[in-house]
Amino acid sequence: MITLNNVVKKYNQKVVLNDISFAIEPGQSIAFTGHNGCGKSTLLKVVAGLIQPTSGKVEYEQPFLFHYVPEHFPKMNFTAEEYLLFQGGMDGLTEGMVKEQIDCLSEDFFFENMLHTKMKHLSKGSLQKVGVIQALLKEPDVLLLDEPLSGQDVASQQVFIDKMNALRQNGVTILMSCHEPYLIDAITDWTYRFENGKLTAVKNEKSLEEKWFVLFFEKGLGAVVPEKCKGHLQFVEGGCKLRCSERYSNEIIVEMLNAGWNLRGMWNEDGV
């Protein structure tokens, strides 16, 4: 678990993150939306420990392996393959394993023909693919995505969505700064909007089409988190909350009850 406690970040007296407190559970997939420059990328870097908050604290339950897909991948003198080989090596993979992963991922992302091109000659979309592939060479504990689809072709976007959902099934935590509603819908459970440095939970676009509910469960004796619900729970005082669509609500309630949890509340997203 990663916990942010009263995190404030100021740049030249401008407050970018204003007293942010929340907990990130393993396996959760969260999107942060908001205007350009509102602090989404800063928050991702604060969570990863790359930026020092002006005040407040970020606490980690254990040292996590973070992988990061930046918004703008730098142009470098390496060929894409050379760069990826080095990154895989630093991930602790053997040369054979890295080569296999590079072949597999570059084929998935329609990137095989670009592997031997110097990165300084790649287009923005192709560089972004290098950024995504380097992050997927080894499965991280937490994946940070900063506008991950910018410049990518439609087919690659779908591959990306499939890869992200596969990672979610493996319990990888995904934190994403993003503007595309369909991507938010496709790979995240929770969305937070940035406004004046504050975070507000908002509905996903999907919720405009179907009813969404928030379920509150109290932990019973010996309760465990069912496999299907892993990564979707938000732990709060006295239990946990879970957001689900109407069509899955019965199934999820049964799963949770069987796993030892007690249903204590159910609201639609307007709080009714």
Partner: protein, 242 residues
């Protein structure tokens, strides 16, 4: 260990792809080639003078390698290694590798030339102890220079003119330190912060052989200064982050 080697190899390749190495190493080669154009020379004295030049060159290398890695890929590497400290230590080791390359240039040229001119390059026959002593003195000076070059890091002092100016100022003081203290003894209370490069080098400027006791003291002293500068830089970067 493999991970550390991978990071060093990665940075080395990144450095070689850039043009940043050309000027300092061309200058070093030019100096060594011209210095050893006259023979015979004193072995210890010639290595002592070369070590002062290598100190300056490696400071230059240290300054230019600060911005070798783009900020974003540096962040990716730090996250990948799960430790800022590990990343910065790898970078220091990479600089140590560059120091060794600098030593190969500084000692390799005269040694090869000595072979070509049937051992008449130096005033006497060169021995293994001379090579070991020369290597130790050159490495201590080179590494101190490299650590000094990285001390005023771009993320610690954003204003590059001030950072480069401050580095140049320290290099000059390090080179004139012993002379300054000799002429103005009170200045020792001010210049103790500057690495004692000229002091250590002056111990060997007149001897015909390396005094291993003095060499050990000098090596330890310079390495201590270098390590302190490295620790200050790493901790400042860890504190400051990005």
């Amino acid at each position: 260990m493999k991970m550390v080697c991978d990071v060093i190899r990665y940075q080395y390749k990144q450095y070689m792809f850039s043009a940043k190495w050309v000027m300092p190493f061309v200058l070093l080669i030019a100096f060594v080639a011209s210095f050893y154009s006259i023979s015979p020379v004193e072995i210890v004295n010639s290595f002592a003078i070369t070590s002062l030049v290598l100190f300056g060159v490696m400071t230059w290398v240290g300054v230019t390698t600060q911005e070798l890695e783009p900020e974003v890929s540096e962040q990716i590497l730090i996250l990948r290694l799960k430790s800022e400290r590990k990343y910065y230590i790898c970078h220091i080791l990479f600089l140590a590798v560059l120091c060794v390359i600098g030593i190969f240039v500084s000692m390799g040229i005269p040694l090869v030339k000595n072979l070509l001119v049937s051992g008449t390059m130096f005033s006497r026959k060169i021995e293994m102890l001379d090579v070991i002593g020369g290597f130790a003195l050159l490495f201590a000076c080179a590494f101190t220079g490299a650590m000094l070059g990285e001390l005023f890091h771009v993320r610690v002092i954003k204003e590059r003119t001030i950072a480069v100016g401050a580095t140049f100022f320290v290099v000059v003081f390090a080179i004139v330190r012993s002379g300054l203290v000799e002429k103005y003894p009170m200045s020792r209370f001010l210049v103790w912060v500057v690495p004692p490069v000229s002091d250590v080098v002056s111990w060997f400027s007149n001897g015909s052989r390396f005094d291993m006791g003095k060499l050990l003291v000098g090596f330890t002293l310079l390495m201590l200064y270098a390590i302190i500068m490295a620790v200050i830089k790493v901790e400042l970067l860890r504190l400051k982050k990005f």
